[in-house]
Symmetry: C2
Subunit: 201 residues, 2 copies
């Protein structure tokens, strides 16, 4: 995505498209998408407003790119879990949970932005639709794991799905890049709690 642009010089941020996108996501998360102007973004990067438009066509385009980043990786995790029919639904569900945790940690700013989307524009409405499709597919995977007898059947599958992925998403509230726990530790801890339970057996 950065093409043949030279590496940014030390002590000043890189101004290629990737750097602009990273700075935009950070600003959108800090002060809200609606409250962020292209002027704010230019100031953040130490650029003029017209220089910003050399890199990206619009603020909406940056939002779209950010949401695509998060949704693309989440969809990939789910597609893999669904395609892998050699394993039980339960095994595939555990993988989907672990994969979702990894995407959240590895793409924390973009996923945080996605989780805050409320549907105030066409791009946001489309992101909500894609998120809902992913949620529906996860709920189907949960229902399949209940149906095969691997998961408890005294809770409605759609409620299980909401609690399970609510737990994953809640990581965005406190996990920090280079924080105390890495993605693998967080993924193991969530699956241990949710599937095996915290109570000693």
């Amino acid at each position: 995505m950065t093409g043949a642009r030279p590496a940014p010089r030390r002590g000043r941020p890189g101004h290629d498209q990737t750097a602009v996108l990273r700075a935009a996501i950070e600003l959108f998360n800090r002060q809200g998408y609606d409250a962020t102007s292209m002027g704010d973004l230019a100031a953040e990067l130490g650029l003029t407003k017209s220089a910003i438009y050399h890199h990206v066509p619009s603020k909406a385009h940056l939002l779209q790119e950010a949401l695509d980043e998060a949704l693309g990786h989440l969809s990939a995790v789910l597609d893999e879990a669904r395609r892998d029919t050699g394993r039980t639904a339960y095994e595939r569900l555990r993988s989907a949970v672990e994969g979702s945790v990894r995407v959240l940690v590895d793409h924390l700013p973009a996923v945080t932005l996605l989780l805050r989307v409320r549907g105030n524009s066409d791009a946001e409405l489309e992101a909500l639709r894609r998120r809902r499709r992913i949620d529906d597919e996860l709920a189907e995977l949960v229902a399949a794991a209940v149906a095969e007898g691997a998961l408890r059947d005294d809770l409605p599958p759609d409620l299980i799905s909401r609690l399970l992925f609510g737990t994953v998403n809640s990581l965005a509230e406190w996990v920090r890049p280079q924080g105390r726990y890495d993605a693998g530790e967080l993924a193991s801890a969530i699956t241990a709690m949710a599937f095996d339970g915290l109570a000693r057996r």
Copy 2:
């Protein structure tokens, strides 16, 4: 809190302090505290701006009241769990989780506002301090339940605490007043998943 004010007339919103507070919390959640003016609030209630000031001294006062509502109820749940030393730490932790779910569902708008606080004012910073104190006390309860041998000891107690109450807080993202599941069902489902696990034993 509403004193001896007459009940609001049918077909038009009540304009006593409670009604103003409820409308303010709803607006703060919908469009953000910073983006909401007392003029917006007046318009929402069909009042003049000066009539609003007859009921409440300031926007900051409304935020304070809302955060106090959420924090007061959450602290009460925790105080009860801590005082009740006739039961094991594990039993008290389960009660604290269930009680937190009930507070979240019964005071959904105020708790939602609390969960979105980022520390942009003195009232918000104080709310964050109180939230942190509650989180620390919950983490101590988790550590006590691990120490007494009731909870698995292969996960750090502070991580267990974060995941557990992250799961509770994630309800605010999708639970709706008069929704499909009541507070009791949600509390049972969360404790069943988190303590006993989703996998069939």
